[in-house]
Symmetry: C2
Subunit: 183 residues, 2 copies
DNA sequence: CGAGAGGTGTACCGATCTGTTCACGTTTTT
DNA sequence: AAAAACGTGAACAGATCGGTACACCTCTCG
């Protein structure tokens, strides 16, 4: 019961924070839009920061699961999967509510390195890097770590520019670069 | 007189917004830290939004001037300048107060496409793209427009990851990619 | 001198923020 | 059926937000 309400709260708060921003979204709005009273919210989370951290944990899980699965569905070789990532990103960019990377925005709003939100946001990027490194190693790249970091740069650049330009073109442009680098 | 105070206000407000964020920086703090009374601020700018737009205009001018000049100082061929951009970015990343791209953060905080701040933030990226395109054309790239957009993706990816990882390594990694793409 | 422009500091307005309190229902368990 | 657990709505506290009002100071210039 309690866990259900808690999970429902986190799940419904996610799009709120994603679309309105963290600071700009008040707890009264969270209560109203999630259907969970403010009293209950503060029974599950001591502060707004704890709720945001929980939301980011869910987002990390959802996003990485979605991306990895999509990469596997679109290609079966390691190199093919790395390239397919940019096709998956393109699909994401074309979604109506696309607003950029939630972790980049979290790090932008809570930019002190000592902030737990900032740290958790970067952790998401580190987890992506681990996965990319494994794929690069399986693809027998000369320097898997370096190639993985480069793929991450391409991914982040495409995400930021797609958000700012309201276009999915950066996905294809990043993919073109990845193709030449992985060749 | 008036213009001096106004310029001084914008100049001193810039690092405040850059380090604290736009929403998180209150007008009382702006008045206190810039040395310009709130009464005077609101004589020059009708709203906080207008002040932010003025700050972003100054930042655009300062940053583009600095980057273009640094690229010219470090190399004399068009291709060399494009590569030198990543060395210049590395210098920026190593500066003590580095906090990422102010325009990306502005677009993240004011993410509605109809928001004037969002529009002005993207305009900065468009101006960079114009410059890159001219350099790519001078470097006799096969497709100057596409190559310029790719260089912009590399630049934005490096900026975001340098900010999140508190490291200057993305500059060298992006440069390595640019070298292979421009070869 | 005297007027006006440009500036300051402070107090204030109404709204909104995070977080708490309290009295009250509803459901589950014993 | 009694009791504990879980939930609600609404009011509230204290702080802060963007923005305004007002009295005052200090120059410059005629």
């Amino acid at each position: 019961m309690s866990q259900n309400k808690r999970a429902e709260l986190i799940r419904n708060a996610l799009p709120l924070f994603y679309r309105n921003g963290f600071t700009a979204t008040g707890m009264d709005l969270v209560a109203k839009e999630t259907g969970v009273s403010k009293t209950s919210i503060y029974k599950h989370f001591r502060t707004k920061e704890e709720l945001i951290l929980a939301v980011l944990r869910l987002r990390d899980e959802n996003f990485r699961n979605w991306l990895y699965r999509r990469m596997e569905d679109l290609a079966d070789t390691p190199k093919g999967q790395l390239l397919a990532m940019f096709d998956a990103l393109g699909e994401w960019f074309r979604e109506p509510g696309y607003q950029g990377c939630m972790f980049v925005k979290a790090a932008a709003e809570f930019q002190q390195a000592s902030d737990p939100i900032n740290q958790q946001a970067y952790q998401h990027k580190e987890l992506l890097l681990v996965h990319f490194t494994a794929l690069c190693r399986a693809a027998e790249c000369a320097d898997p770590e370096a190639m993985a970091r480069q793929m991450l740069i391409l991914k982040e650049g495409a995400i930021v520019l797609a958000a700012m330009s309201h276009s999915d073109a950066p996905a294809a442009e990043a993919k073109a670069m990845a193709e030449r680098l992985l060749a």
